[in-house]
Amino acid sequence: MSTAQTRADGLGAPPDPRGPTARGRRSSGRAPSDPKPIVGWLFIAPNLLGVLAFTFIPLVSVILLSFTEWNLVSGFGGIDFVGLDNFLAVFQDPTFWRSLVITILYAGVAVPLTLVVGLALALALNRDIPARGLLRAAFFVPYIVNIVAIGMTWQMLLDPSAGLVNQFLGVFGLEHLPQWFASSYWALPALILVTIWSQAGYANLIYLSALQDAPTQLYEAARIDGAGRWASFRAITWPSLLPTTVFLLITLFVGISQTFGMIALITNGGPGASTTTLSFYMYQTSFQFYRFGYASAVGLVTFVGIFAIMLLMWRAQRGRALHD
C-alpha cells in the first residue's frame, strides 16, 4: 500500500521526515527498548543533588535574601522584608561604586596582561627548545599552587624593605622604590602582578593546545609566499587563536573579578580601601558587618554586571568570527 493511499484512507499520519521512529521517540521520550528512566536519574543523582544543594538553593536564597534585612544571628524569625531598599542603597553606596571601579581596574588590567603573557609563553614554548616539557610544567605550577602559599611567598618577595624584588631593584641604584602592599597606590598594581603570575600558566596551557591545532599547511604556504614571522602571526596564528582568546577572556574575567582569597590573605582590602574589590566588599558586608541581605544585593548586582560584560564579549566575538 502506498503512502498516498494510506493518507487518503485516513488510516495513518503523514510520514515524519526525520525517519520512522522519530515521532515515537518524541512522544515517549525513550525508545521502547530503553531501560526505565529511573536508572538515568539514579546515575545523575549525585551530581544533581550537588547542584541542588550547592548551587540552586544558595542562588534562590541569595535572591530572596536580597529583599530582606537579616543578620544571621536572629534566625529566620529575624528576617525583615525590605523590598527594593537594599538595591536602592547599593546604588547610593559610595563604597560599592569605589569597589566597582577597583574591580574593573583590577580585572581590566590583569586579564589582558595575563593573556599577553600566556600567549607569549605559549609561542615560546611551542618551539623546539631544550627542556621544553620541563618549562611547560614550570610555568603551569603557579596556577595549581595553594593560594595561601602564593600569598605568603609574595608578601615576602614584595616586602618594601627586606623583599627580594626591592633588593633587586636597589641593585640598579633606583631610589623611591615601590612600597607594594604597604602603599595604597602600589597595592593594586602589586595584586595585579601576583594575579598575572598565578594565572598566566593557565592561559599558556590553553594557548599551547590551540597552537598545536594551527593549520601547518597555511604556514608553509605563507613561507613560500615570503611572509615573515610577524605577517604569519597576524594573518594565520592570531585569527586561529581568536576563539581561544575569547574563551580565556571570559573565563579569566569571571575568575579574576571574583578573586577573594588572595586579597583576604595579602591585603585584607587595604591599605585604606585600595584593594577592596566587589567580592571582598561582599565578604566584609556579610561576614564582618553581618548584613546578609545587603551583601546579597551587592552580590546580585555584581552578578548581573559580570554577566552583561560576558554577554558583550561573547557577542563581539561572534560578530568577529563571522567577519573572519
Binding site: L64, F76, A182
Partner: protein, 436 residues
C-alpha cells in the same frame, strides 16, 4: 485593583518562602531536635580550657557532683565568632557563652540570643556592681540585663628595662602625654624605635562612647582624634614610631610581641593578656626585664584605654536556665583564681591583688619583671576603664577609621583630610543606620 502595598509579599509569606528554600536542603527527620541532657551544661568561651576554665569547671564539679560541664573553646576572631553565631542559631546545645567585644555583644543581644538575668542579678547582693549605670559593667536596658563583664582589661605601658636604662629615663609613675612623647623620642636611637604606636589620645581624653557626641552624632571632628593621627604621622616620619608600612606589609597588628621581644622598640602599650609572651622563654627568648607604667594622661582626661570585657551570657533558648545561671554565678564569684594565669583580672571574686599579681606574672616573676611597677600600675593606680554603650554602626565606623588611619600613617594623606573623611563617613553611617 489591589492597593500597591497589598501586592508586596508579607513578611510572613517571604520568610516562609525563604524557609522553604533553606528547608529543601535539610534531610527529613532533622527538624526534630535531639533530646537534651538536662544534667550537662555546654559552655563556649575563648580562653583555652587548660589556661583556667578547666580548673574552674573541675571545682564546679566538686561542688555539684551531679552535673557535668562541657567546655568548648572558640577562637575570638571573625571565623570563630561566625562559628558561635551559627551554632547558637542552629540550635546547637549551648547554655552559656562568652562574648568578646561590643559589636558581637550588641548583635547577640539585639537578636534575642541572650537571656535576661536582671532578676537574678538584683537578687544576688554580691553582684550589685552590675547594677551601676554610671560606670556600667553589664549590658543594661531598663530592667533587662543580658551580659555581665567578667574581667577588667586595663592597658599599661611596658618598658624594655635595658633600653630604658641606656636612654637614661626614669621609670614614670604618673606622667603626661608630653612627658610620654619625650620618653619615646629618647628611646628612638641606634636603629631602635620608641614605640609601636602611641596610646589612643582621644580615648584618654573622652572615655566611653568617644566616637559619638551626646546627641548621637559623629564626634570625629573633636580635635583629639586629629591630634592623635597628626602626632602619630609626625612620629612615624621622624622614625620614633615603628614604620606603619612595615606593620601593614608584614601584618604585625596581631604580633606586636615579636617586635617588642626582638627589641625593635623600647616601649609597648598593651594589656595583661600579653604578659604570657614575656614569661615564655622557649617561644619568646629574651634577656631583658620588663617594667610597667600607667597610660599617660592629658590635661583634658585621664581615662585608661582599657575596658571591661569577656561578657558571660546565657543562651535564651537553653532549657537549663537555672543551671546556666548557677554556673555563670560561680564563674563570676568563685572562678577568679582559676583564670588569673590567662591574664584575667576578675571584676569580683575573693582574690587579693598579691594573688592576682603572682598569677599574672607567673612563678618566675622576679626573673622577667619589675614586680613593684606592675603592682602599682595594675592595682594601686585604679585605672579608669570604659564600656561603650553607644553602638550605632560600630563595626562599620571602626573600619572607616582604620582605613583612613592606615593611609594617613603611610604618610599618603594628611591627618586633616583623613579625619574629615572619617567624620563624614561616620555621620553618613549613623544617619543610615538610625533610619533603619
Amino acid at each position: 485593583m489591589l492597593p500597591a502595598r497589598s501586592r508586596r509579599p508579607s513578611r510572613r509569606q517571604f520568610v516562609g518562602a525563604l524557609g522553604a528554600v533553606a528547608g529543601g536542603a535539610a534531610v527529613s527527620g532533622c527538624s526534630s531536635e535531639p533530646e537534651k541532657d538536662m544534667d550537662t551544661l555546654h559552655v563556649w568561651g575563648g580562653i583555652p580550657a587548660e589556661s583556667g576554665p578547666q580548673r574552674l569547671i573541675d571545682r564546679f564539679h566538686e561542688k555539684h557532683p551531679d552535673l557535668t560541664v562541657e567546655y568548648t573553646r572558640y577562637i575570638n576572631d571573625d571565623r570563630g565568632n561566625l562559628k558561635l553565631n551559627t551554632a547558637l542559631q542552629g540550635g546547637v546545645d549551648i547554655d552559656v557563652f562568652f562574648t568578646y567585644g561590643v559589636p558581637n555583644l550588641t548583635m547577640r543581644v539585639s537578636s534575642g540570643l541572650a537571656a535576661d538575668v536582671g532578676d537574678q542579678v538584683r537578687s544576688t547582693p554580691e553582684l550589685a556592681m552590675f547594677l551601676d549605670t554610671d560606670d556600667p559593667k553589664a549590658l543594661i536596658d531598663g530592667d533587662e540585663i543580658t551580659a555581665l563583664a567578667t574581667t577588667r582589661i586595663p592597658q599599661m605601658v611596658l618598658f624594655n628595662e635595658s633600653l630604658r636604662e641606656r636612654a637614661g629615663i626614669d621609670l614614670p609613675r604618673q606622667w603626661t602625654f608630653e612627658e610620654y612623647l619625650e620618653v619615646i623620642r629618647a628611646l628612638a636611637a641606634d636603629g631602635k624605635y620608641g614605640s609601636y604606636v602611641i596610646p589612643d589620645l582621644a580615648r584618654i581624653e573622652l572615655g566611653p562612647n568617644y566616637r559619638f557626641t551626646p546627641e548621637g552624632d559623629s564626634n570625629f571632628s573633636h580635635p583629639a582624634f586629629q591630634r592623635h593621627l597628626d602626632l602619630s604621622a609626625e612620629l612615624i616620619r621622624d622614625g620614633v614610631l615603628y614604620p606603619w608600612s612595615q606593620a601593614l606589609a608584614r601584618q604585625l597588628e596581631a604580633y606586636q610581641q615579636n617586635n617588642f621581644i626582638a627589641e625593635d622598640f623600647g616601649l609597648w602599650t598593651t594589656a595583661p593578656y600579653s604578659l604570657r609572651f614575656l614569661t615564655d622563654q622557649e617561644e619568646y627568648p629574651h634577656d631583658f626585664t620588663v617594667s610597667a607604667a600607667p597610660v599617660p594622661t592629658t590635661e583634658n582626661g585621664d581615662w585608661n584605654t582599657g575596658e571591661y570585657g569577656a561578657f558571660v551570657q546565657i543562651n535564651s533558648r537553653s532549657p537549663k536556665q537555672e543551671l546556666a545561671w548557677e554556673f555563670s554565678k560561680f564563674w563570676l564569684l568563685e572562678g577568679a583564681q582559676d583564670l588569673i594565669s590567662a591574664g584575667y583580672i576578675s571584676l569580683l571574686g575573693d582574690v587579693d591583688d598579691e594573688q592576682l599579681l603572682a598569677g599574672i606574672l607567673g612563678e618566675d616573676a622576679e626573673q622577667f619583671f619589675d614586680v613593684d611597677s606592675f603592682r602599682r600600675t595594675l592595682f594601686e593606680d585604679e585605672p579608669r576603664m570604659h564600656l561603650d554603650t553607644e553602638l550605632t554602626a560600630y563595626t562599620e565606623i571602626t573600619q572607616k577609621f582604620e582605613q583612613q588611619r592606615d593611609v594617613c600613617w603611610l604618610l599618603e594623606r594628611s591627618p586633616t583630610k583623613a579625619i574629615e573623611t572619617v567624620d563624614r563617613n561616620a555621620q553618613a553611617l549613623i544617619e543610615r543606620f538610625e533610619e533603619d
